[in-house]
């Protein structure tokens, strides 16, 4: 299997854990994996990406433009910002809930993510999920990463079984949070399925 997967979002949204789980699950299924993370200053509220490259014949640690089979976008503007990584026939999973930059509170530009979602729908094959609504039952936006992971699993295009992803979730999440994270994963999976049939 050769597959490039990009995760993007805003520092603090939990992209790193989601990326770790996908990479570890792919390895558990016997694949060679390389990945790369944004580390340092940008983690403080800046745009962040995780690049996952599955397969043996890898040159660059970063995914070349136009070669990602899938993008998991945790935020609409970040999805647009990284869209050039997607293959024309690739799939984008995107959370419609915007994260407004702090500068937005000082100088309003009216950014609400709506225009971005409309744009994405004209450009590629996308699954839109409502992160805010899906996180609500869990009482925290911190479960967005597991919801995204569930949604991407539902597309069936990840090439990694749901069992393996859940096994990695159990292995990597602190025991007291495993159950809630699993529930979030399943909620994301439902959302991903519904969206596809709509």
């Amino acid at each position: 299997m050769n597959k490039d997967i990009l995760l993007c979002g805003v520092g603090g949204q939990g992209t790193v854990l989601a990326s770790k789980l996908i990479a570890a699950a792919a390895m558990r299924e016997g694949h060679t994996v390389h990945s790369a993370e944004t580390i340092g200053m940008a983690q403080r509220g800046g745009s962040v990406t995780s690049h996952i490259r599955i397969g043996d014949d890898i040159g660059s640690p970063l995914i070349p433009f136009g070669s990602a089979e899938m993008i998991l976008a945790f935020e609409p503007a970040e999805a647009v910002r990284n869209l050039h990584y997607l293959k024309p026939d690739g799939i984008l999973i995107v959370n419609r809930t915007p994260v407004k930059p702090t500068t937005e509170s000082l100088h309003e530009t009216g950014y609400d993510g709506v225009k971005e979602i409309t744009y994405l729908k004209t450009k590629c094959n996308c699954v839109v999920i409502d992160g805010e609504a899906l996180c609500a039952p869990f009482g925290s936006a911190r479960y967005l990463n597991m919801i995204e992971l569930g949604a991407v699993s539902a597309t069936g295009m990840l090439g990694i079984s749901e069992e393996t992803l859940l096994a990695e979730l159990e292995a990597q999440v602190k025991p007291q949070f495993v159950e809630t994270n699993k529930k979030a994963f399943l909620a994301g999976r439902e959302a991903g399925r519904k969206n596809e049939t709509e």
Partner: protein
């Protein structure tokens, strides 16, 4: 053997442990910080690990340990090598007995650095070998080679990964157990270990005779590789080789050279690789190091080869390379037009920019705000420094007028004072930076009778680089609890007469402390003490009551990311708020409550 999925810095750590490293010392700096953390995680047996107070200290600790025949590793980012340069330049003349590898991680871009300096240039300047890995897997193997070469030639060697190698993850196969090397111990020999002009003269000559031999040795080094054949040749090093490989994997008609040892230049290897070649493109980041060395080599050997790269304007002189730049630059060199495979995004809507900001609840925000409020309307200069608190420059705080290098804020406040004695000059320094390079600056101010206010932003950690412990935290990398070194007592011992320690989140007290210090002459210090929010449990969350008149003063004054406008109203982002209560102390109508500081 076991497999570990680790970042490049983890691979470097595992490689050093596999090589039997005995002592590891360094100072945190992106992109190098995780090497020492991974050594601590994977070590087995008696390996001494320390976060030294700065890079120079680390270099010296490791140097004398290597005199004992022990294998030692020093880690830092590229600018840390400037701090450690004094030690390294002399050490190059003295040499070592045990293998000593100095990791200096370069940062093309730059992504988290002040400079785009190139450690390969430093290697030539110091006359010592340098290794340049192109991937985490290679870094794991290459650092073991680096120890062997260091021992073989009795010289410290440089090892320079770049950010994309340090932060890339890969699976590394490594022994289940590693064992520190047995070493002889220090053998006194003042003719060897005591540097004097006469010794330097002799050893300088020896180094210059030795280096061509290392270059010859490097000509058969396993990671200097050639693939393909033809009249056109691409030479790359480091991660640029990986980018170039993306484009050249189906181009057997192009000679493709990986140069893993830039200095001493492996001339025999390069001459062999260039047989029959008419044109060479050097694809590298930072300085045109290989390009310059190649031009020298071609000139000296009278070869009819055309060289292009940074010096000819074919490769950008600054910033990092990428798969895309490799495709367009190498494509143009080969007379090809690379096809763009991606989605056309030229019509995309304008996107919000996301400059990094101080975290919600960050005590630095409160410290800056207290100084800002105390000095409102008064002529003041604010000298910043290196750390999270450089972000105090962002609007609406706008509290960093200068930032240069580690510790510079303290001394730069003095320069501004001497040129403008009407102004009150402030220096902001973090706790780790204070220990690393702030103390001499304070003594300088006292001795030269400057007027300044030193603001130590003490959050009890090295936050920016990932929360490493330091002398003020009472914990070291050997896992021991040690006496905390007190910043207050240091300042007192130096002779700073006015030292106030305040909680910056107690706004009125903090403002009063600043006002008091600003009125006094001489060197005054305020220690703003409050722990980093990333390593402490939140105090709670603030709530905004219906008393809110929507004036947005809280947002305009402090720019906390947890204060957002939703449907025209100021609201609290509960996932971000830590309940620090600074906003509650700013609200003119007491509409914000629920925090500690109501």
């Amino acid at each position: 053997m076991k497999k570990e999925y680790v970042m490049g810095n983890g691979a470097i750590a595992l490689g050093a442990l596999a090589a039997g490293v005995n002592l590891v010392a360094g100072y945190p700096g992106t992109p190098s910080s995780e090497i020492i953390e991974n050594i601590a995680k994977y070590k087995n047996g008696n390996v001494h690990i320390e976060w030294s107070v700065n890079e120079k200290a680390a270099m010296e600790v490791a140097a004398s340990a290597a005199y004992c025949g022990a294998r030692t590793l020093v880690t830092m980012k590229q600018m840390g090598l400037n701090v450690a340069a004094d030690a390294l330049m002399s050490l190059a003349y003295v040499g070592v007995k045990g293998g000593m590898v100095v990791v200096s991680a370069d940062d093309p871009g730059p992504i988290s650095s002040q400079t785009e300096q190139d450690t390969r240039m430093f290697a030539e300047f110091a006359r010592i070998p340098v290794f340049d890995p192109s991937s985490p897997e290679e870094a794991y193997q290459m650092i073991q080679d680096a120890f062997d070469y260091s021992e073989k030639y009795e010289t410290p060697v440089l090892f320079r990964p770049t950010t994309r190698v340090c932060h890339a993850y890969a699976s590394i196969e490594t022994p289940e157990d590693t064992h520190p090397k047995a070493y002889e111990g220090f053998v006194k020999d003042s003719k060897k270990w005591v540097i004097f002009p006469r010794l330097s003269f002799q050893n300088h000559a020896k180094m210059e005779q030795r280096n061509p031999k290392i270059g010859k040795d490097f000509s058969s080094y396993r990671y200097n590789q050639v693939t393909g054949s033809g009249k056109k040749c691409v030479i790359a090093s480091g991660v640029s080789y990986a980018y170039a490989k993306e484009y050249l994997k189906d181009h057997a008609e192009v000679r493709f050279v990986k140069l893993a040892t830039a200095y001493p230049f492996p001339e025999e290897f390069v001459l062999h690789a260039l047989e029959g070649v008419e044109e060479v493109l050097c694809f590298e980041e930072l300085s045109p190091y290989i390009e310059s060395a190649l031009l020298k080599c071609i000139g000296a050997n009278g070869l009819p080869v055309k060289v292009s790269g940074k010096l000819t304007g074919h490769v950008p002189v600054s910033g990092e390379n990428s798969s895309e730049s490799a495709a367009s630059i190498i494509g143009a060199f080969l007379g090809e037009t690379p096809v763009s495979a991606g989605i056309d995004v030229s019509d995309r809507p304008e996107l919000p920019i996301r400059p990094p900001v101080l975290c919600a609840g960050c005590p630095h925000r409160a410290s800056f705000y207290a100084v800002k409020r105390a000095m409102a309307g008064k002529k003041s200069y604010f000298c910043g420094d290196i750390g999270c608190y450089t972000l105090g420059n962002a609007m609406p705080l706008d509290m960093v007028d200068t930032c240069l290098c580690m510790g510079a804020g303290i001394t730069m406040a003095q320069g501004l004072h001497w040129m403008d004695q009407d102004a009150t000059c402030f220096a902001f320094v973090g706790d780790s930076t204070f220990f690393a390079s702030g103390m001499t600056g304070v003594v300088n101010a006292l001795y030269n009778d400057a007027n300044m206010v030193l603001c130590v932003l003490d959050n009890s950690t090295t936050a920016m680089t990932g929360h490493q412990p330091h002398p003020g935290t009472g914990r070291n990398m050997m896992g021991n609890v040690v006496d905390k070194v007190s910043i207050e007592k240091i300042l007192e011992g130096m002779g700073v007469t006015k030292i106030l320690t305040v909680n910056p989140l107690d706004l009125n007290v903090a403002v009063a402390a600043v006002q008091k210090c600003a009125e006094l002459s001489g060197v005054k210090a305020i220690i703003f003490k409050s722990p980093c929010v990333a390593i402490t449990k939140p105090a709670g969350k603030v709530t905004i009551s219906d008393k809110c008149i929507g004036c947005k003063k809280c947002i305009r004054e402090i720019g906390c990311p947890a204060l957002i406008i939703r449907d025209g109203k100021v609201t609290v982002d509960e996932t971000l708020c830590t309940g620090c209560g600074l906003c509650a102390q700013i609200c003119p109508v007491n509409a914000i409550g629920g925090a500690d500081h109501e």
